[in-house]
C-alpha cells in the first residue's frame, strides 16, 4: 500500500486556503476597490500622498530599527555568555530570560508601565523612549534564542583554532564568533524587526497613539473605511516582503566536514 503522504497535508492545506490565501485575496480586493466595488488606484495614491500615513510608515520604521538595535546590543552578549558556558547553569538562566513570555503581554506591559512611571514620574513625558523600552522588553527573547542557538552550534575547536593561531579573546569574538553566528543574528533581527513594525499593543499602552502602522489600520477600520485600511495592510505586507527577500538567505549548514567518502 502506498503511504498516504500527500493526503496527510489536506488539513493544513484547507487551513492555508481559508485563513491565509483567502484573507490575502480579500485584503488586496478591498485595497484596490472603492466603496461600491469599482477598481481604483485612489487608495494607493492616497497612501503615498497623505502625510499622515507616510509619517506613520517612517515613524514605524524608526521605532522598529531602534528596538531591533537595542535588542541586539542587549541580546548578543547575553547569548554569548550563556552559550560559551561562562555561567554554571545556562539552561536555567535561559528559562528565566524566557519566562516573561509565559505571562500575558498586556499584564506584562502594564507592570512595566507602573515601573516606568515610578522612575520617570509621569510616563506621558517620554512616550518615544517608553515605546522602545516596551518593545525591546516584549521582543528580547526572540533575539536571544536564535543567537544563543547559533553560537552553541559553533564547533568549540574553531574558537580554539583562532586562539591557537594567536588571536586575542577580542579578535576571536569579532573575527570568528560573530561572523559564524550571523545566521542567528539575522533570524533574531527578522523576528524582532517585523513584529516591531506592526505591533499594536505596546504602542497603545505606552504611547496612546496611532502613530504606528498597526494602530493606523485599526483607526481606519474603526471608521468603517475598509478600503483604505486594507491598502495600508497591503503596503505594509509588501514592504515587509521586500525586506525579507532582500536579506541574504541563511547559509545552508554544511553537515559534511569532508573525509571518508570524498
Amino acid at each position: 500500500m502506498k503511504f498516504p503522504g500527500r493526503r496527510l497535508s489536506i488539513p493544513y492545506a484547507l487551513f492555508l486556503l481559508f485563513f491565509v490565501v483567502l484573507p490575502l485575496v480579500i485584503v488586496f480586493y478591498y485595497a484596490f476597490t472603492d466603496g461600491s466595488g469599482q477598481f481604483t488606484l485612489e487608495n494607493f495614491l492616497n497612501f503615498f500622498q497623505n502625510p499622515k500615513t507616510m509619517g506613520t510608515l517612517v515613524y514605524s520604521l524608526v521605532i522598529a530599527i531602534l528596538t531591533t538595535l537595542l535588542a541586539l546590543v542587549l541580546a548578543y552578549p547575553t547569548a554569548y555568555i550563556l552559550a560559551m558556558g561562562y555561567v554554571k547553569n545556562p539552561r536555567l538562566l535561559l528559562v528565566i530570560f524566557i519566562t516573561p513570555m509565559w505571562i500575558n503581554s498586556v499584564l506584562r506591559l502594564t507592570a512595566l508601565k507602573e515601573i516606568l512611571s515610578a522612575i520617570e514620574g509621569n510616563i506621558a513625558y517620554y512616550p518615544f523612549i517608553n515605546t522602545i523600552l516596551g518593545m525591546t522588553y516584549d521582543f528580547l527573547p526572540f533575539m536571544i534564542l536564535p543567537i544563543y542557538n547559533s553560537i552553541t552550534k559553533i564547533d568549540v575547536s574553531l574558537k580554539e583554532a583562532a586562539l591557537d593561531l594567536g588571536a586575542s579573546n577580542r579578535s576571536v569574538l569579532w573575527k570568528v564568533m560573530i561572523p559564524l553566528s550571523m545566521p542567528g543574528i539575522i533570524s533574531g533581527i527578522t523576528m524582532v524587526f517585523l513584529p516591531a513594525m506592526t505591533n499594536y499593543v505596546v504602542l497603545d499602552l505606552m504611547y496612546n497613539s496611532t502613530y504606528i502602522m498597526g494602530s493606523l489600520i485599526g483607526s481606519y477600520f474603526n471608521a468603517y473605511d475598509w478600503n483604505r485600511g486594507a491598502m495600508v495592510s497591503a503596503v505594509l505586507l509588501l514592504s515587509i516582503a521586500l525586506l525579507s527577500f532582500s536579506e541574504k538567505p541563511e547559509r545552508k549548514e554544511k553537515v559534511k566536514v569532508g573525509g571518508v567518502s570524498e
Partner: protein, 441 residues
Amino acid sequence: MEDKIIIELKNIKKSYDGETTVISDINLKIKKGEFVTLLGPSGCGKTTLLRMIGGFEVPTGGEILLHGEDIATLPPNERPVNTVFQKYALFPHMNVYENIAFGLKLKKLPKEEVQKKVKRALEVVDLEGFEKRKINTLSGGQQQRIAIARAIVNEPEILLLDEPLGALDYKMRREMQLELKLMHEELGITFIFVTHDQEEALTMSDRIVVLSRGHIQQVGRPEDIYSIPRNAFVADFIGESNIFHGKMSGYKTVEFLEDEFSCEDGYPAGTEVEVVIRPEGLTPCSYEEGKIKGEVISCVFKGTYYETTVLYEDQKSEVVVYSKKRMEVGAKAGLLVEPEDIHVMLYDTHKNHFVVEKDGSMYDAYFSPSDAKLSDDAEEGCVKGNIVSIIYKGDHYSYTVVSEENKNYFVNDEYLWNTGDMVSIIIPEEKIEYNLLKEEA
C-alpha cells in the same frame, strides 16, 4: 645534549573535579626537531596531554618547560606552538587564503609578506593556486592539508597534531603519513603527533610514547617498542602478540606451554615471567618436528600472509602464526621459534590491595590476580567495578577492573568478558592475606 631539549613535561598531572585522574605524573623530554608520537587507546590521556601543551587545558600539577621556562598556565595565543585539530577546524566563513593568513594578519605582517608566506605554505602542502577556494568545496584530504598549512605558516617551534588523519580513508591516510614525514624533515619543526593507530605511529615517529590510563608505559624508537615491549600492555597494543605465562627454568631458559625454550633475556631461575612471541616469530613445520604442537583451528588469508591460529594441546592456549603457507583447518601442526624471537618480561606480580573490616579491626587485604575470579552477580564478590582493559595471555585473560572507589584491581580469568562490563571480584577467603591496620578505638 641538555640544551637541545625543546620541551619538557615535569610531573604533569591532570584530574577533573579533583576526582577523575586523566594524567598521573608524566615526565617526558622532547628534543628539538624530533617527531614524537603519543600512542594509546582512547581514554589513555594522550589528547589531554597534547591539549595541555597547546594551552587548552591547564595541568592540575607539574610544569611544562619550553626552553626551560614554565608555560603551563600561558594561554594558547601566547605559545609558540600551533595545532592541527582532529576535525581540521578550518573557518567556514573564510576562503583558503584567509584561513592560512589568519595568524599572519594578527601579527600585522605587511600584505606582500603574508601573500608570499601563504603561497609558500600552499606549496609545502601541494595545493598551489587554491587561495580563492571555499572551504566547503574541498575534499577531506585537501582540508587536512590546508589545516596543516595554516599551522606551519606561523613557523611554530612545535607543531601539535591531534589525530589529524583519523577522518581520512585508508589509502589517503597512508599517503598523508609519508607526506607528513617528508614535511617534518623539510621544515625541521618539532612534531608531537597523537594517534591510537599503532601502525601510523610505527611508520612516522622518531620516538613513540605509549600511554595507558594516564601513565607512560614505554618510550622508545619504533623498532624497540615493537621488538622489545616493556610490558604485556605494550606487547598487546603494538601489533599482534602471543602472550604466555611462564617461569624461568635457568638463567636464559624459560618454561612455558609445558616445555623448555632457550631465550636471550636472563632472569634468575624460578622467576615468574610473561613470554611474548610475535606471530611472525613462529615458523610452521611438521607436527613431529614442532616445538609447540597443536591443531589448526583457523586459517585466514590477509593479503600478503595467512593468519593461522593453532590450538595448543592443552586445549586452552591459542597461538597465532603469520605464514606464507596455507594450513588446513583441523590438521595437526608444529611450530618452531628461535631464541631471539622469545621476549621474556617480568610477570606483573602486582598484588591487589584493599582495606577491609574484620572482627572489629581494620585490615590491609592482599590477593593475587590469579586467585580471583569475575562474576556478573554484583553481590557475589567483595569488590564491584567495571572492566577497563583486557589482555589475552594464551590460556587466560588479564583484566583490569576499576572499582567504584576508582581503585584498580587486576584479575586473571579464563573466560572472556567485555570492556565496560560491570563485574564483581570473587576472592576465596583462604587466598586473602590480611595485615592488621589498626585496632578499633
